[in-house]
């Protein structure tokens, strides 16, 4: 499919799918449940829309504010499971192996990911240290662990009463895990240091870059609507 055709296709979906509902009150009363699952509201402009069936590759936008409502992914759950497993293995080398070493006038010093936060803490800047610790270590670790827990339960069809709490937490911390910003920080720091010292890159940095790729792929593969749907199904199944 050429690019031009793909764009056309996307436009088509946009027009066909989200027909505005004007002056049409959803039926109330006992048919409520069926009605509620048939409609959805845009999270950014609150426009009431009709739910449509989209397949992987489609992008469903809100017709009024252009918000990306839904972007289904192929095998989202199994891919999330596999990627978060890979991320779990990468967490240890990325956090504990030395990333960059500095050599100048005979003395050598190297640092791991953890050192950044701890040095600031030792220097008495505990506020910034906590912020760096949370955004570069704690939230990335937590988001990979939560992804693994959620996708594992969904993959093996195991209901758990904490599932929805986990997914809600995952959605809230998503913005605060800043591995990609940290990588740019490393690059800028290296450029500044290059003139005054010799730099050595360790295995920790390789693991860190791989971890970053895994978490970007995780975010890309995550199909929010599908995850919530499956959690609801598991809940209903458990009640029966």
């Amino acid at each position: 499919m050429t690019i031009h055709k793909m764009i056309d296709y996307e436009k088509n979906i946009k027009m066909r799918s989200n027909v505005r509902i004007e002056n049409k009150k959803p039926k109330s009363g006992h048919k409520n449940n069926r009605c509620e699952s048939k409609y959805l509201a845009c999270p950014e402009c609150d426009l009431l829309l009709q739910q449509i069936l989209a397949v992987a590759g489609d992008k469903v936008h809100c017709p009024r504010c252009d918000y990306l409502l839904h972007r289904p992914r192929d095998q989202s759950i199994s891919r999330t499971f596999a990627l978060s497993l890979a991320g779990l293995f990468l967490l240890f080398p990325a956090n504990f192996l030395p990333m960059i070493g500095v050599k100048a006038l005979g003395s050598y010093h190297d640092g791991t990911l953890l050192d950044g936060a701890f040095t600031l803490f030792r220097e008495g800047m505990w506020g910034v240290a906590i912020l760096v610790f949370f955004s570069s270590i704690f939230f990335p670790v937590l988001s990979i662990v939560l992804s693994l827990l959620i996708s594992g339960h969904l993959y093996f069809n195991r209901p758990n009463r904490h599932l929805s709490f986990w997914l809600r937490t995952l959605q809230h911390i998503d913005e605060w895990a800043m591995l990609e910003v940290y990588l740019i920080g490393i690059i800028v720091a290296c450029v500044k240091l290059a003139s005054m010292a010799e730099l050595k890159f360790g295995l920790g940095l390789t693991a860190f870059v791989l971890l970053l790729f895994v978490s970007l792929m995780l975010a890309n593969n995550f199909d929010r609507a599908l995850f919530w749907q499956r959690i609801e199904q598991l809940k209903i199944h458990e009640k029966k």
Binding site: I21, E22, N23, K25, P26, S28, N32, E36, S37, Y39, L40, A41, P43, E44, C45, D46, L47, L48, R64, C65, D66, Y67, I100, V102, A104, S107, H109, D110, D115, G116, A117, F118, T119, L120, E123, G124, M125, G127, A129, L131, V132, S164, L167, R168, E175, W176, M178, Y182, I184, G185, I186, V188, A189, K192, L193, M196, A197, R224, W228, I231
Partner: protein
């Protein structure tokens, strides 16, 4: 004439966490699917965003006035403010990196503070605007916010790496770094607490 096409006007609430629609009730309700508290609009969105923004503006001043780090080479130290660090990068023939730092640590926080203030003004004075463009502005503001952390990360890396005793040492400026980090955090929370649906609510003829 306003058409009844939003969830609020139809007496429905969309769950902020999982997107499930629910009937609006008088008392506070939780979502049947995910257990999150249901709100038609984020509670006290205007006041919260306003308070966070004012603190952000106040802290933006010390963040730029105080030196954010001191580089000591062979016993001679030179303190740098954020802007000074960028100037040093330009003199060191590293223009692309200088531009990157300029955008991430000066322009982004400033434009974010101003952009959110405009959004608040728009909601408060019920400006009739092209809501689609303003919603897009909000989306950009909430997306770029995290990139301001670049400077903080860079300092933490430099401080932990450059500890070569008397040869070279980098010391972080506590006052500037803390207030700059606070500006980033406060504006991220401000963007999070602003509800873009308010822009659409104040438009008369949509």
């Amino acid at each position: 004439m306003k058409k009844n096409n939003t969830a609020l006007e139809q007496g429905l609430i969309s769950c902020h966490d999982c997107g499930k629609l629910a009937q609006k009730t008088i008392e506070l309700a939780v979502c049947s699917r995910c257990g999150g508290t249901l709100h038609s609009r984020l509670p006290h969105s205007f006041q919260r965003t306003f308070a966070l923004l004012v603190s952000g503006f106040a802290l933006y001043i010390p963040a730029n006035l105080f030196p954010i780090m001191t580089v000591t080479k062979l016993g001679v130290g030179e303190p740098h403010t954020i802007l000074g660090g960028i100037v040093a990068l330009i003199y060191g023939d590293m223009l692309p990196i200088a531009m990157l730092v300029l955008v991430a640590s000066i322009l982004v926080p400033l434009l974010k503070l101003l952009g959110l203030s405009l959004l608040l003004l728009c909601v408060h004075y019920r400006w009739q605007v092209n809501a689609k463009i303003w919603t897009r502005m909000y989306r950009i503001i909430s997306f770029v916010g995290r990139w301001s952390m670049l400077d903080i990360f860079m300092i933490s890396i430099l401080v932990s790496l450059v500890q070569l005793g008397s040869v070279a040492q980098v010391i972080a400026g506590s006052a500037a770094a803390t207030s700059f980090a606070s500006v980033v955090i406060l504006t991220m929370f401000a963007a999070k607490s602003f509800d873009p649906r308010l822009i659409w609510d104040v438009q008369n003829n949509i």
